[in-house]
Symmetry: C2
Subunit: 342 residues, 2 copies
């Protein structure tokens, strides 16, 4: 068999503000791979099917000297994100041709892996689309599940405020909160997302770009749980609207990723209202929740009890634009790149 | 017996910045009380011995419309703070003449109480000075004990950073951290307090007015537990110096009480370093810890295992000045007003 194209997306330069497609990242289709003959040294070849584009990727686009919870991308090397692929050839007895693997994949059409480090084989017993495994049943869903289960201390009848409720993390948080019997206030950045949030059960859903967060919380609060994906002013409003003893789950602060952290003015409520604030990195906590998560969430997705949306873009060459769109909050739902058919 | 003077300190006006003695509070010695004949309606008379002056009192000097975790002081009425008094006459069978009571006392030489609401009888089995019961064995010590016990999750060999380490709360936190086997970095606002912090076991003690907090933390961190009594810039430095998984105990933010809250710039570390932040109000949590606290702390104080300092000022007429001095951090140790001899 003749060599096959092995296109990839390379990290090209550290952005100062928003990442720029073609400058921050470049698409390169000059490489090839010979699937039959490539030297695997006991490893296997993964054909990439879907890749996840997540807000946190911005944090990896930095100089390697800057420490953080995930390593910086390497200039000249492919990006890495969660994805699902299918094994097309294997010399590793633990992995068979035809197995599907989920985990960190490099942004290449094909990649050679030695073993299952940072990967796991998924069975997909409910025959869900592979994109689900990078969305509601992937890291995004895991983030919602772990954060909510570990930190919300939710009690029936309480009120939760969920930011980025139209996204893959927030939309599962809304549904978990409703399953726990809470009233849910949810915000997102478009009317379409507002409609979606209502359809999955949010009691109060609003577009923060056209409606005042402060007013909504004044009218519908106080809040007992705050799911923070945005930080900044919204966090300040949530601090004002918090009930005594409220739990703040700090999942992310996208408002500061591209334009610098916005200062927080109302943090004194943390002690005066006896709040708890917990930050977490899903990759560190998930192992403990792994089995219960995969035993429940895919089944609920298959049955329709848990709903999700996604925005699938075809082609590895679109990665740069989709990353930018996610950073600007312009994507309509969980952003997925479809790289190839199964 | 002829009437006795019953001087008091009244809340006179809401301050805009620092409280002003004579304006925010006024001393009034025009009232008298007839200890033998005063109508008790089944209650008792407490002669005030010592009163505590605490940083949080600033929060009570506000308009009553502003909600908070403690009620606002009432214009024209005496201040209220923790204190110890002795019962000089009683019609209440639960309280005998000669009993000592601890709890919220109004700033009067004598006050008539109906029952033990917000008071408890203290036995003082170790014969400690009464001032100890408004300091290391009072609310300040309770604050340190409850916050540390419930939220520090301290592990031997970790590093703690304690602010206001020369004060009654911080100095007990330092000693509890040392008993748990931690390395302790401690800050305070005078060289005298630095000396005291070293004498009670702080491994690194510094005067934040003359030494850079940022540099000290860079050199001696990272930190696993942060005891916050100050907020503001110090909190921002602690966020930078925090280890992954560090616990921030939010006890107070005196840097913002008089000049408005200072914005926090580094809060994104809460999620990127998986920090926990817990605010608490000691009065709400203490009941659960009451018995273990009184069973251990006074004994350790009596044996010298736990040390304390205090700055005792005589005379109810000095309350206004002592309040201001505490707000400005000019007091050298736990501020106590001695009102009368036992």
């Amino acid at each position: 068999m003749s060599p096959t194209r092995n296109a990839r997306v390379l990290f090209n330069s550290v952005p100062t503000g928003f990442p720029e497609p073609g400058k921050t990242t470049v698409y390169d289709d000059t490489k090839t791979i010979d699937i039959e003959k490539a030297n695997l040294s006991g490893g296997f070849i993964v054909k990439t099917l879907v890749l996840s584009v997540d807000p946190y990727l911005r944090g990896r686009m930095r100089s390697p000297e800057v420490k953080s919870y995930v390593p910086a991308f390497v200039i000249g090397e492919p990006l890495v994100s969660h994805g699902v692929g299918v094994v097309v050839r294997s010399e590793n007895p633990a992995v068979k041709k035809g197995d599907h693997v989920y985990g960190f994949l490099s942004h290449e059409e094909y990649s050679i892996r030695k073993n299952l480090e940072k990967l796991e084989i998924i069975k997909n017993e409910h025959n869900l689309p592979w994109s689900v495994y990078v969305g509601v049943a992937g890291m995004a869903g895991q983030t919602a599940y772990v954060g909510w289960t570990k930190y919300s201390k939710a009690k029936k009848g309480e009120t939760a405020f969920v930011t980025t409720g139209g996204g893959p993390v927030g939309s599962l948080v809304i549904q978990l909160a409703k399953l726990d019997g809470l009233k849910v206030i949810a915000s997102a950045g478009s009317d379409e997302k507002v409609k979606f949030m209502k359809s999955i059960g949010a009691d109060v859903a609003f577009n923060y770009k056209t409606t005042s967060t402060e007013e909504v919380l004044k009218k519908n609060g106080p809040i007992d749980v705050y799911w923070d994906n945005v930080g900044g002013e919204t966090l300040d409003h949530a601090l004002v609207a918090a009930n005594v003893g409220a739990r703040f789950i700090e999942c992310g602060m996208i408002s500061g990723y591209n334009e610098g952290g916005r200062p927080i003015h109302n943090l004194e409520f943390v002690f005066s209202k006896s709040l708890s604030m917990n930050g977490f990195i899903v990759m560190n906590l998930f192992p403990k929740f792994h089995n219960e998560f995969y035993a429940t969430i895919p089944a609920k997705v298959a049955s329709g009890e848990i709903k999700y949306t996604e925005e699938v873009t075809s082609g590895l060459d679109k990665v740069g634009e989709v990353i930018l769109s996610v950073q600007k909050g312009l994507n309509k739902a969980k952003a997925v790149i479809k790289v190839a058919n199964d």
